[in-house]
Amino acid sequence: MAERKTAKSKYTADRQIPGAFEGETVTRRRFMTGTVHTAGAVATAAIVLPAAGFALGPVFEEKEQPWQPVGKATDFTPDTYLPRTITIEPRIGDVGKSTVFVRRFNPDVDTEPRDQYNEFIAISSACMHLGCPINFVAAAQRFICPCHGGVYDFVGKVAGGPPVRPLDRFYTRVENGTVQIGRRFSVNSELERFSPRDPGEPLDGVGQYMYPSRPSMRKLPGT
């Protein structure tokens, strides 16, 4: 029977390695291998990390959304919506424009608490099913989406079809008699304000946790 190998000592000097120092535990070969691997990892990271950050940057960067005027306060009534065009992204021409539907706050139908940002109600034209453009049909007092038949009532709550939450809204304020539109926010079925979500993401129940808000777009703090 072959003799069992005795466990190697952790000291290089005990293992008869030429030139070993007293108390040395790492061989020079192992040290050099580790050094080269570390240098390789640093060099790779120096290229990969900036490139990945470059591609992923917009996910973490907050988008600027300036207040923009949409007309005189006296233009709008509490009874019907007026379509107004706003610019979501100024650098891409017509593609960056979007429609909002604006009316005055109406205490008869609007149940949410009044504050400085909802004297005027501005409703986004993106359907909350998958983002197609909805239209306000005045005769029916409904918002209707042409793609898959989403229907919303006068305040933007879901009245039928596949949408998962009421239509998104925009903050509004009045400056010198002009109505201004700010950033977008999302609402749940109680019309509570949430940071803007994409269409198709419900906000009732566990929805708000399954579809977290993103650093790229938040609601105004304290609202």
Binding site: A55, L56, P58, V59, E61, K63, I88, E89, R91, I92, G93, V95, G96, L130, G131, C132, P133, C147, P196, R197, D198, P199, G200, E201, M210, Y211, P212, S213, R214, S216, M217
Partner: protein, 268 residues
């Protein structure tokens, strides 16, 4: 004692070694011309030994019963190559900016010589490729060709299917007409309905919370650089595994064991 490699005597049928004082090979310009192709390939092969690999790849044994269904994989590859060639030439005329994309596509379709034809090849070829991918996948499934030892090739094939779908999705935006724009809005929002990571993924795809200034160029880069490179690399590995593992016989053919090894015939 170290092993010695003894010189091997020339095999019968091999040319005899060259001797000094004799002339070999082509002499006149006409003979040189006739052998130009052979000698050029010989020059490369002498330095790379690629012919061995080519022979390994192309002159394989195939099982009895191999039929036309086995050509679906190659057909998919040639559909991809057609997309690559037409895509490269379309890129010469295409302008991936939100303000110029639609006009450049209109220019390709209406002004450029054969532009509508090449654009059409790319557009319809994408559908051909998706159909061929599914037929190839169905063939593999129904012939049981995904079983041991070919599971890894099935997995790579599924990744290639997903990459093909990514190509279809990102390419759909590029003409930048109404259909492209709204299909992309809807597609990105479908992607966003994935719980927890969906919202961040759609931010990544759009480069921001809304369709923005760099969304189109981002889709363009994914469509013509990122995914085609990944497809080409994985396709190479897919083919390597096919050559290494061989193809399966169709399921209606049973392997025949030699007569004398069959249990009922063996004398007890």
């Amino acid at each position: 004692m170290p092993k010695l490699k003894l010189p091997v005597p020339p095999m019968p049928g091999r040319p005899a070694p060259k001797r000094p004082g004799k002339t070999y090979g082509p002499q006149t310009p006409r003979e040189h011309g006739r052998e130009a192709g052979t000698s050029a390939i010989g020059w490369i092969d002498e330095r790379t030994s690629l012919s061995g690999g080519a022979r390994w790849m192309m002159f394989r044994k195939v099982p009895k019963g191999t039929n036309w269904f086995y050509t679906l994989g190659s057909a998919t590859m040639f559909a991809f190559l057609a997309q690559a060639v037409t895509g490269v030439f379309l890129a010469m005329y295409y302008d991936p900016s939100a303000t110029g994309a639609y006009d450049s596509i209109r220019n390709i379709n209406n002004e450029v010589f054969l532009g509508e034809f090449v654009h059409g090849m790319h557009k319809w070829g994408s559908s051909v490729m998706v159909i061929l991918v599914f037929l190839h996948m169905g063939r593999t499934f129904f012939f049981g060709a995904y079983k041991y030892p070919r599971e890894l090739n099935w997995v790579i094939g599924v990744v290639l299917l997903i990459l093909t779908m990514t190509m279809s999705f990102t390419g759909y935006l590029l003409p930048f007409d109404q259909r492209s724009y709204w299909a992309t809005i809807v597609g990105v929002n479908i992607n966003g309905t994935g719980p927890f990571v969906g919202p961040y993924l759609s931010d990544f795809l759009r480069a921001g919370p809304d369709f923005g200034a760099t969304t189109l160029s981002r889709f363009y880069a994914i469509h013509m650089m990122l995914v085609p490179g990944a497809i080409a690399a994985l396709m190479g590995f897919h083919l390597y595994l096919v050559a290494k593992l061989g193809t399966t016989a169709p399921p209606w053919l049973r392997a025949k064991s030699p007569e004398k090894l069959r249990e009922e015939k063996v004398a007890r």
